[in-house]
Amino acid sequence: MTDAADVLDLAALSRLREAVSADESSSLLIELVEVFLSDAPERIAAMRQAVPVGAAGAVGMAAHALRGSSTYLGARGMAQICRALEALTEAQPVAGAIPLIDQLDHEFQRVKVALELQLGGHAR
């Protein structure tokens, strides 16, 4: 069983809620989590497709984008892996990215469960 606090920085989620009025905070958070849960697998898939053709820029761009949303949602582990992927694509052959992408995928599954627990099943 995933403990949300092990996977998510709950203070980051609180900061997201605080940024908007109480009237909108729940619906916005649900909307943002849904966007994240929809976009993250697409970005991870895009990274996997880019590796065999040596498209380091595409891997780096997907990791860069995913790091931003992971940070705002408090998905620290994902943000760290994305940062490592960005650094790797700047300095090494992109083939070495596969283990990190696997790690990112695994961490995403944990984050997904943790977010669903936090929102009490409201996110799709």
Partner: protein, 139 residues
């Protein structure tokens, strides 16, 4: 929603960040015009002539650096202040955009949405009175 009249063009390709920033800034009374990529941002800058542009750097179609270059080369848009919102902390990126005429460089991962809103309001207030904050010059 009461607005204070300031219109912000938000050019951000990541829809999570675009939506989060849009709602947060709108709650402060700002009119937010969202753009999903550099091409759309450039088009909306010319059509809407906003009071401020928040511009991401790493985007598909047209990178933020090219958007900035084109905005500053166009007499119709060159006087609109552009604040760069990026996750890159590379010194050369910062230097390049400041030389091109950006009004500031803020690192997204260093800012909560609340802090972003506060900084934008501070920048607009300083700009209205003819000055700029230090934080607007360097994020």
């Amino acid at each position: 929603m009461h607005t204070n009249g300031h219109r912000i063009l938000l050019v951000e390709d990541d829809r999570f960040l675009r939506r989060a920033c849009e709602v947060s800034l709108r709650q402060r009374g700002l009119v937010v015009i969202p753009a999903a990529d550099g091409e759309e941002g450039l088009r909306l800058a010319g059509a809407e002539v906003p009071d401020l542009i928040l511009l991401d750097l790493l985007m598909p179609k047209l990178p933020g650096i090219e958007v900035l270059r084109l905005l500053k080369a166009d007499p119709a848009t060159k006087n609109i202040p552009v604040l760069i919102l990026s996750n890159s902390s590379r010194e050369r990126d910062m230097q390049e955009v400041m030389q091109l005429g950006a009004a500031g460089y803020w690192i997204k991962s260093n800012l909560s949405l609340k802090e972003l809103g506060e900084r934008v309001m501070g920048f607009l207030g300083a700009n209205d009175s003819g000055g700029q904050t230090d934080s607007a010059r360097r994020g």
